[in-house]
Subunit: 341 residues, 4 copies
C-alpha cells in the first residue's frame, strides 16, 4: 500500500535528519532557550527581513493555533471560514481554552474582507462575544492560496476594525511556491500580526516556528506555551530542524517537490477525464472519483474520502510531500491505466 | 561549560537515534495509530504483564499530567504534595483545564495515606471541590522513591475512598533501578490506575508512554490528547523511540547510568565533607554548597540553585543522565580539588 | 416611553411579590436546600407527573444553559440551530466552559431530526468534537413552538444516537399556552433528558427551575451550580417564587396574558397592512416596519430592531408579558392611527 | 429551631423589601443598565468619594470573586491566605476559569506584605504561573478585620510589585462598623484596585456592588459578567436593593446590629467561662464548646461546627445578622443557663 493520505506519512527529510544526527550529543539548555533555537530564530528573522519579531518553536499546528488564539481575553472571539481547521479538525481545542469561533462561509476556502466586516457589525454589545482575531490558513484546507492583494485587503480590514490577523502556515511552503502565488515570506510577516511557518508537513519530524510581529501579542508568550502543553524539555529538537529547513533552500525545495508531484497527479487524472472538486495549485488535490474506480484505487493506495459528491461519485483528496517520488506518480499512472481497462 | 542542570541536555541515546534513522523513510499512518506505535505498545504491555491496558504516546510530561487529570469532571480535584510538579512547575496547566489542585505537606517529597484521608474527610459537600485523584511521582521531585508497601498502602487508600491513583513517571526508570527500590514495572501497573513511562528524561528526544489500566479512564482518551495539543501528526516519532527504549534493557541501562553517575558525584561531595539536603538514591542529588565554592563551580559547570540554605550556603541540584560519562565525573572531581585548594 | 422591548421590564407579578413579602422574615437554610425550595420542587414534580426528577433552582437562563451543557465531558459538544440563544446571545458562556457548539440551519428557529443525524454522521473520530447533546428552546428565539410529534421525533433521534436532549424553557409557559400547542408540561419531561421552566420572563424577579430526568446527569449537579456562579446564598428567593408561580394557575395565566396581548398587537398591525417576518403564536412578534413609521413609533415606544429587511424596511420585535395591559395595546393602536395619518 | 448558622437565613431587611415593593411595577431596561442601577451607582460613588469608579451589580459573592480574578490573563495567578473563601468554599470556581490560586499561611485570617513579597520572589519564570493579583476579605473568614496601616502596607506592596489588590467585601459592613476599625468606605476604595460591597449578607435578598477603580480592569467588564452567568435579566433587582441599603445609614445600621448581637453572644459565653477560638470583633464568633454542651445547644439551635478542637471540644461558629433580635440573644442566654445546670 502506498499512501497519498497526507504529507506527514514519513519521518524527516534528509537534511533535517542529518542535522539531528550531527547535533545529537552536544549539550544545550532546555525548553527552547538553547543556541540551536537561537540560530534558527536568527535564520528566520533574516528570511523575513524583520529583525524585531519574536520567534517560538512549537510542537505542532493545533498547538500553534491554540496559542495564537489564547492571547485573546476570555470574551474575545476568532473569526474563520467554516472549513477552517480550528473549526473542524481540532477537537474543540480552541473552545477548550474558552474562546468562541465565529464562522463565515468563505469562498474557495478563503475568507473575505466583507465577511469580516459583517461579523464585526453584527457583534455590537456585551451579550455577544467580541470579535478580535481573524484566522486564515495559506494554503487553505482546500489547497487554495491567497494572493497578495487579497491578504493586503484582509489585513487592512483587520487594522481598521482593531482585529489581529493570524495566519496558520501549516502548508505555508506549499503556498509560497505554488504557481500563481505572488507572496513572499516577508509579505506574510508584513501582512499579519502573528503566523507560523509549518515544519511538520514540510520535512520536519515535528515542529513549527511561530512568528509574532505585533507587540501586543509578545509579552509572556512562553507562559502560554508551557501552560498549553506545547513546550518540549528538549526544545532544541525543533530548533535544529527549523534551522536545517530554513538556512538554505530546503524548505522551499521540499514544498516545491510536493506541489509538482500533486500537480502531476492532477494532470494524470485529467487525462482520464477525471475532474477536480476545486482547482488547487498546491500539494493537495481533490479528484472526483467514480466509486467503482475509488474501490480499485483503495486496493493499492491510501487516500482520503473527503465528502460524497453524488450517488456514484466521491470527492477524494490526494496529498503529496517532500518524500513523493516521480516513480510513485508513475506507478500510480500505470495502476490507473490498469484500473480503467 | 558542562551542564549538570538536568537530564534533558542532550538529544537521544544511541539506540533511539539509530531507530529513528532506520525507520525514517517508511510510510506510516498519522497521529499515533501507526504500526510503530502498535509495536511499542505491544512491547510495553508485555513488560507490564498487563495485556488489557490502553497505551498512548504523548509529547511530554506536562501534557501527560494534564491529560490524566483532564479525565476528571469539572468539579473534581487532584491531591498532591506541595512540591509536586503539577503544583509548582507547570504554569498552572492543570488549573487551565479547570481543575483545582489540593496540596498536602508530604514527607521527603512523598504523599502519605493519612494525608489523603484527611483531605477527603475535609471536603464533604458541594461548596468545596470533590477530591477524585491522587497525583504522585516516582522518583519524586526530590529524587526520593516509593517503596512497594508505601505505594500499596496509598493505592489501597485510594480504592477505599473512590479515588484514582495517577503516577507521574518522568523519572520512573531512575526510580526502578535505584538502590533500595523494590518495585517493578508490573507493580507500578498493579498499584495505580494510570501512569506514564517517561522517555524524554531517559534517552528519547521527546515522548512518554501513558498507560491506562482503569477502565473508567479509557474511553475517548484520544479526544483529550488532540484537544490538549499533545498529539503529533507524525505520532510514529514517539512510538519508534519508546519501542527502542523498552524492547530490550536500554531503558533501564540508561537510568542506571544516570543513577550511578549521580551517586558517584554524591560520594565525591562526601569526601569533601559536603552534605546533602536530602538523601536521594536516584539521578538527582542536592548538595549543600558554600556560596564561595558554588561560585567557583559555576565558572565551569551549569547547576541548579534549588533554594537558599542559610546565609552562607545554598542547596543545589546536580542531575546526571544516560549521557553522563565517567570522565565527566572525574573531571568534576579534579576541578573540585582545584576549587578547594 | 412604553417598552415592548422584552418580557423582563417589570419586577415580579403580584402573586410572586406577595409570596416574597409573606415569607421574608422566616428563617431558612442557605443555598437552596431550604423548605421553600423543597415545597416548590414538590409542586413541580406533581405538575410534571414525574416523582423521580431532580429539581434545582437557578439564577437565570444563561446559567441554566451553561449548567446543562457543563454536564458533558471536555470533548463533547452541543448541537443547536444558528439562531440558538447559546450561540448568539450568551457572550460565549458555553465555550467559556470549554464546549464547542455545533450549529445547523434549522427551520423557523427549530432544529430537525435530519440535521441532528447529519451532524453526528459527520463527526466520526477524535479529530473532531463528539456531539453529545441537543439544545433547543420552546418557544424558540423566533417565537415559534414545537409540536408534540416534532419533539417526539427529535427525542427518538437523540436516544438512537446516544445524545442528551436539553430544552431551554425561558419562555416555556408562552409555548405551552400558545394556540396550536399540543404539548403539556408532562410531555416536556417525557420527551427531554433535562430542561428548565423559566421564571424570569414569566413573572418572577429572577430564577428558573431546572428539571433533570436522566439519571446520568443528576450526580453532583449542585457542585456545578456552585462552581458556575449560579447558586444564591438565599436560595429560598427562587424557591418562594417558583412555588408561587406553579402551585396554582399563575404561571400559565401570566404566559397567556403575554401571548394574548402580543397576538392582539399582531392583529392591529395586520389592520394597517403590516406583515410579520415570521408567524409566531407566542408573546414575541416580528412586524416588518417601514423605517419612517418605525422612527415615529420610537418616539414613544421602546422596541427591538431585529434585523434590516430591505432598504426601506426593518424587521422589529415586540414582546408582551404578564404585565402588559389591554390599555397599553389600546394606547398603541391609537398612536399607530396617529402615526399613519 | 433558631439558626445562628449564617447571616443569610432571612429574606431582605425592611427597607430593602419596601423598595422592591415600591418599584415593582415600573418599567425599566434589562441587564443592569436601568435607572435604578444608575441611581444606586451614583449613591455609591458619592459614599466612596470617587466619581470615576466603574460600578456593576452582581448576583453574589462567588460571582464577584470569579469576575475580579477573570480580568487576569490565562497564566496569571491570584494570591490569598489558605483560609480564603476562594480557596476553600467556592468549589474551584476560580480554577474553573483557568487561574491558579497561590496560598500563604496568613495570620489571624489576614495576609501580610511579607507573604506577598515571598510568593512573587519565588515565581520568577514561565515554568510557574505569574502572580498578578492579591485577594483578601474584610472582614476575613475568621471575622477579623484589617487596620488601615495594614491595608495601606499591603496596597503599597502590591503597587511596588505590579499586582492588583482585590478586596472581597461580603461582610464589608461588619468590618467597617467593628470596634477597632479605622477604615472608611473611601479608604477601601483608595487602597484597593477593585472590591465589592456585599449586599446578600447585610440585608439584601441577593446582590453585591462591584467597584472598579483601576482603569486596567474596567474595559469590557460587562462581557465577563454575562459570560460568567452573573448578569440578571432584571438587573434592577440588585440596583433597587443596593440603593435602598446605601442611600442612607441602613447598610451600616444593619451591620452594626449584627456585630452588637454577636458581641453580646460572646459576652454571654464568657460569663460561662467559654473561650473563643479567635478574637473576632464582627458578626461571627467562634466559641470553643464542650461536645456535651454543643449537643444540648443543637437541640434548639442551628450552629456551624467549624473544626474539632480536641477530643472533648469543638470550635463552633455563631453568626448574627441585621435580623437578629435582642430577644433571640436573651432566649439563648436563658437556654444556656438551663443547659449548664
Amino acid at each position: 500500500m502506498y499512501s497519498f493520505a497526507n504529507d506527514y506519512s514519513e519521518g524527516a527529510c534528509e537534511k533535517v535528519l542529518s542535522a539531528l544526527n550531527q547535533t545529537n550529543y552536544t549539550q544545550s539548555a532546555g525548553y527552547g532557550v538553547d543556541h540551536f533555537c537561537e540560530q534558527a530564530a536568527k535564520v528566520i528573522r533574516k528570511r523575513l527581513e524583520h529583525e524585531d519579531v519574536d520567534i517560538h518553536f512549537i510542537t505542532g499546528g493545533t498547538p500553534c493555533n491554540v496559542l495564537a488564539i489564547s492571547t485573546l481575553k476570555a470574551h474575545e472571539a476568532v473569526i474563520c471560514v467554516e472549513s477552517g481547521h480550528i473549526n473542524t479538525h481540532e477537537t474543540g481545542a480552541v473552545e477548550a481554552t474558552g474562546h468562541k469561533i465565529l464562522t463565515v462561509k468563505g469562498k474557495n476556502g478563503k475568507i473575505t474582507p466583507e465577511e469580516i466586516v459583517n461579523i464585526v457589525k453584527s457583534h455590537g454589545d456585551e451579550h455577544m462575544v467580541k470579535p478580535k482575531m481573524v484566522f486564515l490558513s495559506d494554503a487553505t484546507e482546500l489547497g487554495t492560496i491567497y494572493l497578495k492583494d487579497e491578504l493586503q485587503s484582509i489585513y487592512n480590514t483587520c487594522k481598521e476594525l482593531g482585529l489581529y490577523l493570524y495566519l496558520d502556515g501549516a502548508r505555508l511552503g506549499n503556498a509560497l511556491v505554488a504557481t500563481g502565488n505572488d507572496l513572499t515570506l516577508k509579505d506574510i510577516c508584513d501582512l499579519t500580526d502573528i503566523f507560523y511557518i509549518g515544519g511538520t508537513k514540510n520535512g520536519a519530524l515535528l515542529g513549527e516556528a511561530m512568528v509574532i510581529k505585533n507587540d501586543d501579542l509578545k509579552p509572556d508568550f512562553r507562559y502560554l506555551i508551557k501552560q498549553h502543553c506545547s513546550m518540549l524539555a528538549k526544545g532544541r529538537v525543533i530548533g535544529v530542524q527549523m534551522k536545517a529547513l530554513l538556512e538554505d533552500k530546503t524548505y522551499f525545495d521540499n514544498a516545491r517537490n510536493a506541489n509538482i508531484m500533486a500537480q502531476a497527479l492532477k494532470y494524470i487524472f485529467s487525462q482520464f477525464g477525471i475532474k477536480m472538486y476545486i482547482d488547487s495549485p498546491t500539494n493537495q488535490i481533490f479528484p472526483i472519483l467514480e466509486n467503482t474506480l475509488l474501490e480499485k484505487i483503495k486496493s493499492n493506495y491510501i487516500v482520503t474520502e473527503w465528502a460524497p459528491y453524488d450517488e456514484r461519485h466521491t470527492v477524494t483528496r490526494f496529498v503529496c510531500s517532500w518524500a513523493t517520488k516521480k516513480s510513485d506518480i508513475q506507478d500510480f499512472y500505470n495502476d490507473l491505466v490498469a484500473y480503467t481497462n
